[in-house]
Amino acid sequence: MLKLFSTMFVLFLALTTVAAQPPKQKEATATVSGTVTLNGSAVRNAVVSLQAQNQPVPQQPLRAKTDTDGRFHFAEVAAGQYMISALTPGFYSASDFQYGFPGRTLNVGKGETIENIELQLKRGAVITGRVTDENDELIAETQVQLQRVGDRVSLRQNMLSLDMYRTDDRGVYRIYGLPPGKYHVSVGSSARDGLISFQNVRASIEQTFHPDATDQAKAKVVELEEGQIATDVNIRIGKRKNSYEVSGRVLDGQTGQPVVGVNLELRFIQPTTGRVSGWVVSSGSRTDANGEFQLLGLHPGKYIMSIRAAAGKDEYFNDPITIEVTDGDLAGIEIRAQRGAVISGWAVIEGTTDPAILAKRPQINLNAATEDSTFAFNQRSARVRTDGSFQIGGLSAGKKRLIAYTGATGFSLVRIEQNGAPIKDNQVEVRAGEEIKNVRFVFAHSTAAIRGRVEFVGGTLPEGISINVMIQPVERGSTNGKTAQVDARGLFVVAGLLPGEYTLRLSASYPQLSTQEISLLTRKIMNHTQRVSVAKDSQIQLTITIDLSQEGR
């Protein structure tokens, strides 16, 4: 929900004039305050977290507790992009549906006073039940899965709440803090997605939905109102399926020596379509000192096996092999790994020798991805080192697209060249085992930024909607587009733009399934386009107004 307050508007305008003043001696810090409410009433003693985003080094979040009036206050907040959320297990807020992360984005300007941020909580619903088998034996310590039915709301899950998604020693589970809506509850692994049972048990469970359906079409929907407690959502599983063990070893194709410390990745091949599942399973399968690996809990089926080196050892790859598990363990699988090709060189920042800027180079992640295959097996990446050099290893032969991920560094890729000559379309042809040297990724650094505000008039937006701003260079073929999320106050910041002409557009994503009304709305939002000129290091202020009341377009 984007609530607009006249006070914020006034403050925003005040900011634009303040920017003209000479910089202060001491770095001014901002304050952020607001309230946490439950159905309109204040929630006291609630912990609110303000977590800085896009940091090269993860920062400890700032915390504040609400007082008896439900108010919280953060002082001495540095400028930047943050995620603000209420840490209140058992309760949820509408903004939790955005990308599945708790909280809302907040762009904090230098020295800004941000007030009246309201975090509106709702009581979460509960689903509880017991899992048994066909002999009424209880199934303890089993993972329970929830799926939303009828919309795309993604459920917030962090490591701390995983406890509740498992049955206890009595086979009982209790999942709380849920948003209202329709759910399917199931245990076991699905036949569709790749059949490795994480429980590593000999007899694994085929995905079974409440109350006892292996066919999702026959699953009973659990419909929850706000704060409702649904009990006896029991699941009765049928006969378990046998799972099998696949073991073998990985050897260096040339020397025959064992390859130590690489992970095995398996992808399931759909029996009817032949499509390779994107789901990779590689748990517990790192090769030991003898190059041996052991994978437990595999269901019958065809799999593609490939190796993925552990960090720092990415020299090897293999031509993926297909294995078939039928009704017994597979032993003695031998994988011949080859030393991959290597692309090395430098990340160069044009137009600056400022050590503070060069120190950001290790935040750049360079990627060489296989361009033409149906599965993205051979994608390798490497971080730029502190001296600016890089090395991407373990590449298979073929055409590779080179990509740079620059995060919040303010760098934009200008061109890639090798031995002085530009690399066309950022693609290189790699031969088996080849060493491609002297590749230069050339970046420019810019502090140019667009700070803007998106305003919606003549209508309201659906709950949980998330708006993004996309800035794309007018020049074709450039990869220097940037996006930014519009925050709780309608503000966005796009930084690190190179000088040039850009097109600005908006996009919207939302958890509900599309209705005609929502489609119309989305069209209006996405129809907006405007031209922005960026000069070197310029700071641009924009206001975008979208009129939701206008008829069609």
Binding site: N45, A46, V47, S49, V57, P58, Q60, P61, R63, L87, T88, P89, G90, G124, V126, A140, E141, N158, M159, L160, S161, D163, M164, D168, D169, R174, Y176, G177, N200, V201, R202, A203, G284, D288, A289, Q294, L296, A311, G312, R383
Partner: protein
């Protein structure tokens, strides 16, 4: 003909190379009532090749609870069972080495049905406390003996009603805490960070009410009312530590524990760049901090000195924990040709024995750091070994030997290996003057010191003694815990530490194996009730003055027994 005899002689004296021998370990997992547990994961790890056992293979038990590992080399193995369905594996005190298994053995692993502790956590106003961790902390074992090092512990979260259920709890005495060690979860923040823990029913640790947990029994209604007290912060930075040149896969971390009870109060990963760490929510009390950093190279591990900190009503800042390199002991195990060979057909390999480093404790030592001072590994096929990742201190090396035919004759560092046995030589060691008897004196290691050239001499011909303690008067009662001592009787053996043995017993039976033949005394002494079960005190024989006291008492008891080479005494009775 001649060549055949020669080969036979060589076979008698040399251990068989591990490459020739392969075998199987079979076993069964059962509950303490004897019912088999099927579908349980059993993990096999080996002590050969690295200092910490690394899992080699896994197996799943069948319908009868059986499992097997086949095609194994003649190495030293350990086996772990994943706890499941509320059944708990036996817990081993931190400085007591786990059993070692070898090929050809059949193993029975018993899991006990744990108890359950359940209840509700509320705020002072009665509102449920949702999503907070509740831990069961074991302070006494099933026999009532105190547990000194009170972690790791079981933790489960409360649900939307504030209800928690901790299951798979082994029998014993517990205190139950809310939000103990909150920062353990590696930077995932909870709403309760910064709150001091509350103990059942609404107490601090000092006034916590204890709960008895019994096998298979549910203790319900263990309701806790949160005290809502702020704890304090302890922060600082970790310094030292060498820069790794490759991608950094290990980070430095700091651990804070209560002192002296060793209860884990938090683990924090150091901030990269600054090395800063902080712990929140600590109530007033004494704490001990230590920092460590792993490494892919086992010689690269680093550890700081433990640092004592007192929290008294305010935050403590500026604690510096300096990482220092760790020490190692390297050498070779040698099997000396012996006139007495107990079983010419036995084919034990040097890779089937394990070496265990054991640090001499000082009264000021932290009990919680005991785990750091014990390293277990097996030598390679040449008998060579390197015990590394040792903190500074004085160390001795103990062993777990395959079978009962071998005994440790000498452990020394310095120029020479053990002298070959000659007919008629007594088993008392004779060594050239420039070697150090490590069994007697231990090796004093400074941070990062690398001791090399240690010779570990084994010989065949060991004797064993099994027996039972009986009351001096028929029908008399024995103390619940006794310690039995085996003391070499010859005057020349006063300082031969390797010939002293001690065994703890709670049912009166005792076993001594792998001892050098000779004359011995037996002595039994009661164990003080206050001695914790989770910590084996240093053997009495390590201290010269204690050895003398022991000898005097043993001599006075007049319980001499002679053990001949390869003798197996089965039913010896010791009157107490």
């Amino acid at each position: 003909m001649k060549t055949r005899i020669l080969i036979l002689l060589i076979a008698l004296f040399l251990p068989v190379s591990a490459q020739q021998q392969r075998g199987t370990i079979t076993g069964r997992v059962v509950t303490d009532e004897g019912t088999p547990l099927s579908g349980v994961t059993v993990m096999l790890a080996s002590y050969n090749g690295s200092a910490s056992p690394s899992t080699l293979k896994r197996a799943l038990t069948d319908q009868e609870g059986n499992f097997q590992f086949t095609n194994l080399a003649a190495h030293s193995y350990t086996i772990n069972v994943t706890e499941t369905l509320g059944y708990v594996a036996p817990s081993y005190p931190p400085n007591v080495p786990r059993p070692v298994y070898r090929i050809g053995e059949n193993v029975t692993l018993r899991l006990t049905r744990g108890g359950v502790i359940t209840g509700r956590v509320t705020y002072a106003n009665g509102d449920p406390m949702i999503g907070v961790y509740v831990s069961a902390i074991r302070i006494r074992d099933a026999n009532g003996a105190p547990i000194n090092i009170q972690s790791p512990f079981l933790a489960r979260m409360t649900d939307d009603r504030g209800v928690y259920r901790v299951y798979g709890v082994s029998a014993g005495t517990y205190v139950v805490a809310v939000n103990q060690g909150g920062a353990i979860f590696y930077g995932q923040q909870t709403p309760f960070d910064g709150d001091a823990p509350t103990y059942y029913p609404s107490a601090t640790r000092d006034t916590a009410v204890e709960i008895q947990v019994q096998t298979g029994i549910e203790s319900s209604g263990i309701d806790i009312r949160h005290r809502s007290e702020r704890g304090f912060a302890v922060s600082g930075k970790i310094t030292g530590g060498s820069e790794s040149t490759g991608p950094r896969s290990f980070a430095a971390s700091a651990i804070i524990r209560t002192f002296p009870t060793g209860l884990n109060a938090g683990i924090a990963i150091a901030e990269s760049g600054t090395g800063g760490f902080s712990f929140l929510g600590l109530p007033d009390g004494e704490y001990e901090l230590v920092a460590e950093m792993g490494s892919s190279d086992s010689d690269g591990n680093q550890l700081s000195e433990p640092r004592r900190v007192a929290v008294r009503g305010s935050d403590v800042t500026g604690i510096e924990l300096r990482l220092m390199p760790m020490a190692s002991i390297a050498g070779k195990v040698v099997l000396e040709p012996s006139p007495n060979v107990c079983d010419p057909k036995a084919k034990s390999s040097l890779e089937e024995l394990t070496l265990i480093s054991r640090r001499e404790e000082k009264p000021t030592d932290s009990p919680a750091l005991l785990q750091r001072y014990q390293v277990v590994l097996a030598p390679d096929d040449k008998g060579e070994f390197k015990l590394n990742r040792l903190a500074a201190g004085r160390y001795r090396i103990e062993t777990n030997l395959p079978g009962e035919n071998w005994f440790v004759k000498a452990i020394s560092s310095g120029a020479s290996a053990a002298s070959p046995a000659r007919a008629g030589t007594s088993t008392a060691a004779t060594k050239p003057a420039n070697t150090t008897d490590l069994a007697k004196l231990g090796a004093l290691l400074k941070s990062g010191e690398r001791l090399t050239g240690v010779t570990f001499t084994i010989a065949d011909g060991a004797a064993s003694l099994r027996g039972k303690i009986a009351p001096a008067k028929d029908g008399g009662k024995l103390p619940s815990r006794l310690r039995v001592f085996l003391v070499p009787a010859e005057a020349t053996a006063t300082d031969d530490v390797l010939r002293y043995g001690e065994a703890l017993t709670s049912d009166g039976s005792f076993v001594f194996t792998n001892f050098a033949p000779g004359k011995y005394w037996l002595l039994a002494k009661p164990v003080a009730d206050a001695e914790p079960t989770d910590r084996m005190p240093s053997p009495v024989a390590w201290d010269a003055a204690e050895r003398l006291k022991l000898r005097k008492a043993a001599e006075a008891a007049k319980t001499e027994i002679e053990l001949k080479p390869c003798q197996r005494v089965k039913d010896h009775v010791l009157r107490y």
